[in-house]
Symmetry: C2
Subunit: 340 residues, 2 copies
């Protein structure tokens, strides 16, 4: 099959003879129609993710069509348009039993060994990881479900931890990429009416502004948010500077949800967290319930027009990575499309 393979630091190679994935029990093959590029793909491409050594097919934000039978011969999903939840959990540990499959100790994700990713014609995936694409939704839009579910999960987690409802609360989001924008859209959809979003890239700021649901600012030149003012911070960047900003902005008893993970050293104000009872929580991907809820919210219009996408052919994926790393793309999401 055709695939865009990460072959070494800052090197992506488009090939036409990649090995087909092999079906395990309960799995089907999905022919990929649209697959987004995630910040974690860029991170791996730069050689910064020890969990993703080359050679590897990256990509985990896929939508496509189920092809053929599962490995027991059942064709119940054959031809179905689906969004892929790329996180494969064991299904029977205490985390899975309590609906937190994303905390499963045996979890795997496509684009990390032993599973190849979705920058390819085909991906093998358990049937229980598939969500049908609703009537009328394009496959490109459907591929946004994964990053949006990440924002939706973070906001849902934060909303459970703050003292008062979102509609009474002030929220600050770091990052105007797909997850940051999705967090802002999820905050708005879940009732929040005072949303601030910090983004350093001017092109991205314009894209977020056009969604019309939050106050967008450049934290480097315009420290818009006062100290101790924010009920809920959703940090979709996750570096020392955003953690310092989060620590400063959060109010006593407030909540910081840490989603991004550019680095993991410094930036937290342990003294303030202790004396002011701040809650800091990590947020990793989504549960299957988040995935279903996200697709429904995308479908019913709660998350707006979802028009912040730029499409590229999979074969030109290397150029897209280069443009993204050099800040030349205004769209919050670049979606690659395998040639048919």
């Amino acid at each position: 099959m055709k695939a865009l393979v990460y072959t070494g630091e800052k090197e992506l190679t488009y090939i036409e003879d990649a090995e087909m994935p092999v079906l395990r029990d309960g799995e089907v093959m999905v022919r990929i129609d649209a697959v987004g590029i995630c910040g974690s793909d860029l991170h791996a491409y730069l050689g910064h993710d020890s969990r993703r050594p080359a050679p590897l097919i990256l990509g985990h934000e896929g939508a496509g069509i189920v092809c053929g039978a599962d490995n027991a011969g059942n064709r119940d999903l054959d031809g179905q348009a689906v969004v892929i939840n790329p996180l494969v959990s064991c299904g029977h540990c205490s985390a899975c039993r309590t609906g937190f499959e994303n905390q499963c100790g045996a979890r795997e994700i496509i684009s990390m060994a032993p599973r190849q990713g979705a920058f390819a014609e085909y991906v093998a995936i358990p049937k229980r990881n598939l969500v049908p694409v609703p009537e009328g939704m394009s496959m490109t839009t459907a591929s946004l479900a994964e990053p949006i579910a990440t924002g939706w999960h973070a906001v849902t987690k934060g909303a459970k931890l703050i003292t008062r409802p979102l509609v009474e609360s002030k929220a600050l989001v770091y990052g105007g990429g797909a997850v940051g924008l999705a967090a802002a859209l999820s905050l708005h959809a879940q009732g929040c009416r005072q949303i601030f979003l910090a983004e350093t890239n001017e092109l991205r700021r314009e894209t977020v502004k056009s969604a019309g649901i939050c106050t967008v600012f450049d934290p480097l030149t315009n420290p818009l948010v006062a100290s101790n003012a924010i009920d809920l911070v959703v940090d979709c960047v996750g570096n020392k500077h955003t953690r310092m900003g989060s620590s400063d902005a959060v109010k006593p008893g407030g909540v910081i949800v840490h989603v991004g993970l550019q680095d993991s050293i410094e930036g937290l104000d342990v003294r303030k967290f202790t004396l002011q009872e701040v809650i800091f929580t990590g947020s990793y991907t989504y549960t299957m319930q988040d995935f279903h809820a996200t697709v429904e919210a995308m479908h019913n219009g709660a998350l707006g027009a979802l028009d912040w996408i730029q499409e590229r052919p999979l074969s030109e994926g290397a150029d897209a990575f280069d443009d993204l790393l050099n800040g030349r793309i205004a769209a919050a999401k670049v979606v690659l499309r395998p040639e048919k």
Copy 2:
């Protein structure tokens, strides 16, 4: 009046002509009968707390008898035996309105300017900060309410954040002083049946063991707790080493409650917190509801015999500080008693 005054780094001076406190609106004078020494008093005594510069009367764990009228002439509490909640909040901000007076931005605490502390014959305190001492409880025991309420609050906060009930959960407490022991007793009283407590001082380990409610160990020589095994960590020490231990011990989706604050640099594993959705929260003192609930639990026997006290005369307070700092005291709490 008589008072033990912190007069400079590592210097406590017992004097007999300290100025009497002045009543503000709604306040009464309490003649102190018993007052515990807290780790934060030791911290200030060593010159490590910039919020508590000398000269200052330290001490905030007081119990005593209300003397006379409030400053409007009402004698409704005159002669009442009371425990003092030393945290004075504004009563009308959003934190106070939602029952989190401990997060009030205008909070004051006795033993920090402008309020003198309770290592003295008298303290001025708002009437709403007083809890009656139940029938049959000694004043020395009553003075434990403050450190126990700190542990009770931390455990109550942790219990709300963990996924499953305490009775299903494993808990780890760092520190076998009064707050650590109180946290373990509160965990037990609230239903937890798998409690581990780490303490480096052998004398203190023996005291905690005799309470009979938890497995006590020395974390320096006996790493009893496995990685990723604990649902709820209550860190009543709060230094780099206990934060590293907490980060390692906590399981995916688990909770760390940070109560102690020996230092505030390093020790948190931000990468694990993010990828494993660990919740880290600060815990500061207690609410008025925690204070009432604690006195009730002390009274009804839910917290055991409360016999881990050593009494000393207030005039010999300097020696008690010295013994505590040199680890020569097995009791989890030293209580000073002003001479009558």
